[in-house]
């Protein structure tokens, strides 16, 4: 367990956390404002990865791939909101869970029909394929770029929500939707805007994850479950909570997977440790979530919207 390894695992954890934040931000906003549970959020992430990979293969420009993923996922989100999900916003969570569960199956098969059942390969763009050296250790510059983009988006979201008129309406809509509507704001369009924004962020996460994970049907589900853990730990509806929880979950999960087997080997026999290590590593974040919920049922950063619904 050298310092070098620890540092690079820490960076990997940050990078995962940043990706999770991109997903969690949209999901938690949609939940906070519309009280809508969208299990199909992972499908938007998958669509983003596919749009990006397809655009990258065609144009060989990573910027265009980013654009394709963000715009494509955003448009799919917009269409979903307008044509499929509006009726579900006022229904209870059970119907929402079920409907979006159906959508997951639908999108997975749609992807299989269009791009085939296997995984498709997406290359790291040439300009980011080297490693950079900081503090005497080297780290892939592509992963650095992910962290950078993620932090920039986080900053942008903060400014959007705290400093602009739209952001003010979003915040007001999260706590007092009826009041906002009765003041003459078209809350329907506000909802659509938030949903499309969340979808675009999911698409961004998908395309950036594309070169480091395998782009395949069903890639959205494991990430979705991690994202749900993040927004529960962070407190439903809270962007700030989603940010910190995403970083915590990313780091805990990555460090757990990297070091848990070694730690277990120090305590148990080799055989037991080898079997139990990875399992406990995968369980860590769920344990974390259970602990958080046991002590703070509303999450680390409760919002009034999450508290009442």
């Amino acid at each position: 367990m050298t310092l070098q390894l620890t540092l690079s695992q820490l960076m990997n954890g940050l990078q995962l956390g940043v990706l999770l934040f991109l997903l969690a931000a949209g999901l938690t906003l949609v939940f906070g404002i519309m009280s809508f549970v969208n299990l199909a959020h992972g499908s938007l992430y998958m669509l983003g990865a596919y749009f990006g990979a397809a655009a990258f293969a065609k144009t060989e420009s990573f910027l265009l791939a980013l654009l394709a993923a963000v715009v494509g996922a955003g448009i799919v989100g917009l269409l979903l909101d307008r044509f499929a999900l509006t009726k579900l916003y006022t229904r209870d969570h059970l119907d929402q869970v079920l409907a979006t569960f159906g959508l997951i199956l639908f999108f997975n098969e749609l992807i299989r029909i269009i791009w085939g059942p296997g995984s498709i390969f997406m290359q790291v763009p040439d300009s980011l394929s080297q490693t950079v050296e900081i503090f005497g250790f080297s780290y892939p510059s592509y992963r650095f770029a992910i962290i950078g983009v993620g932090l920039l988006v986080a900053l942008g979201l903060y400014l959007l929500i705290q400093k602009t008129r739209v952001g003010m309406l979003i915040r007001a809509g999260a706590t007092h939707p009826h009041m906002v509507a009765s003041l003459g704001v078209n809350i329907k369009w506000l909802n659509t805007l938030v949903f499309a924004l969340g979808a675009a962020l999911a698409g961004l996460a998908g395309v950036m994850a594309g070169p480091i994970v395998s782009v395949q049907p069903g890639m959205g589900e494991p990430v979705l479950i991690l994202t749900l853990v993040v927004i529960i730990i962070g407190g439903l509806g809270s962007i700030r909570g989603a940010f910190f929880a995403a970083l915590i979950v990313g780091v805990v999960d990555t460090l757990g997977r990297a070091f848990m087997p070694t730690i277990m080997r120090g305590i148990f026999e080799r055989n037991t440790a080898d079997a139990a290590g990875p399992a406990i590593a995968s369980m860590l974040i769920y344990l974390l979530m259970a602990l958080v919920l046991a002590f703070k049922p509303q999450g680390l950063f409760p919002t009034s919207a999450g508290a009442t619904r």
Binding site: K87, H93, F107, P117, E221, D274, Y286, M289, L293, P297
Partner: protein
């Protein structure tokens, strides 16, 4: 004690459907004859899914607790057959006892933590616990890990032999009948009344002095036990136990079955299981007949179907019928 907890309206559509379905299941092995093994096995699977859904419906339909993790109890039940079998403990009673004890312990712990939350957080925490157990099963390298565990022979229930598919079918049928009857009684009992009351208005139930949390926990554990029995039966049917029995998609499917049948009806889960599993069986053939190129993509239609069930079918197939109890 009366046999039926309520007066039955024998001419109501719900009663007719329920009677027809039960009779159909009762005579099915005779109707398909000796070479209908496929149908008997398929119907057993329907019954086992129905059993698990009856368990889930008890808390989902009557208690308002949306658990997205009930497949973990099915998986636990299946492993309680598979693991002892590997150590050459073949007694079905031992398997059943092990499944019930372990499930009771696990469900009490999980329920105690999860019931601290409500609404969406409850959905997610049950999902999280199911994921944890899923990863535990994946890590059981000596018991097949990811690939699952093949079970050499079926559980040995002594006098009642389930080696033949038909006898296993009747065991599952009996279990479903028992679960239906017990959940019917439970729902109409004072216990069920408080459970349903806590769904309708938790605050009022609390204000009336009922320890709601305790009632919910007991209901949660009972429903988990039913799912564990379904798991024991499922392992016997497939002679296989694998982490995939605890996958969150199976938990989703169980919810689909409950909703499809009719949320908050005692008999709904059985109708829902018939509808969903028959659909899953005929959709691939149907798709193959119309679009031969896309025969492996029938899940697309299933996904749309589930979506529209959630959107349009508010009361479910069985729930839309007029009531059968006076």
């Amino acid at each position: 004690m009366k046999l039926f907890p309520a007066l039955i309206d024998w001419r109501a559509p719900r009663t007719l459907v329920a009677v027809v379905v039960l009779i159909a299941f009762a005579v099915l092995p005779f109707a398909v004859g000796s070479d209908g093994d496929f149908y008997v096995k398929f119907a057993t699977r329907v019954l086992i899914y129905a059993l698990a859904a009856i368990g889930l419906n008890f808390i989902l339909g009557f208690g308002g607790m949306v658990s997205l993790g009930h497949a973990m109890y099915v998986m636990l039940g299946a492993y309680c057959v598979g693991i002892p079998m590997q150590h050459e403990i073949a007694s079905g009673w031992a398997h059943l006892a092990l499944a019930l004890v372990l499930t009771a312990v696990l469900a009490t712990v999980v329920g105690a933590v999860a019931l601290r939350t409500t609404g969406i957080a409850f959905i997610m925490i049950t999902l999280a616990f199911a994921q944890m157990l899923f990863f535990v099963a994946v890590s059981l390298k000596e018991y097949g890990g990811d690939d699952g565990l093949t079970i050499a022979s079926r559980s040995n229930f002594g006098l009642f032999d389930i080696a033949s598919n038909v006898s296993l079918y009747y065991l599952a049928f009996f279990a479903v009948l028992l679960a239906l009857y017990l959940s019917w009684r439970a729902v109409l009992s004072p216990f069920g009344l408080i459970l349903r009351g806590s769904k309708a208005n938790t605050r009022r139930a609390l204000a009336l002095g009922h320890p709601v949390l305790r009632y919910q926990l007991v209901a949660y554990v009972l429903s988990a036990l039913v799912c564990a029995v379904a798991g024991v039966l499922l392992a016997n049917l497939t002679q296989f136990a694998s982490p995939s029995y605890g996958a969150w998609t199976l938990s989703g499917e169980l919810i689909v079955i409950v909703i499809l049948g009719g949320l908050g009806t005692v008999f709904g889960p059985l109708v829902g299981a018939v509808c969903l599993l028959v659909l899953e069986e005929i959709l691939p053939t149907l798709v193959e007949a119309t679009f031969p190129d896309y025969k492996s993509n029938w899940m697309l239609l299933l996904g749309l179907f589930i979506f529209f069930v959630a959107l349009l079918l508010k009361r479910g197939v069985f729930g839309s019928l007029r009531g059968g109890v006076k």
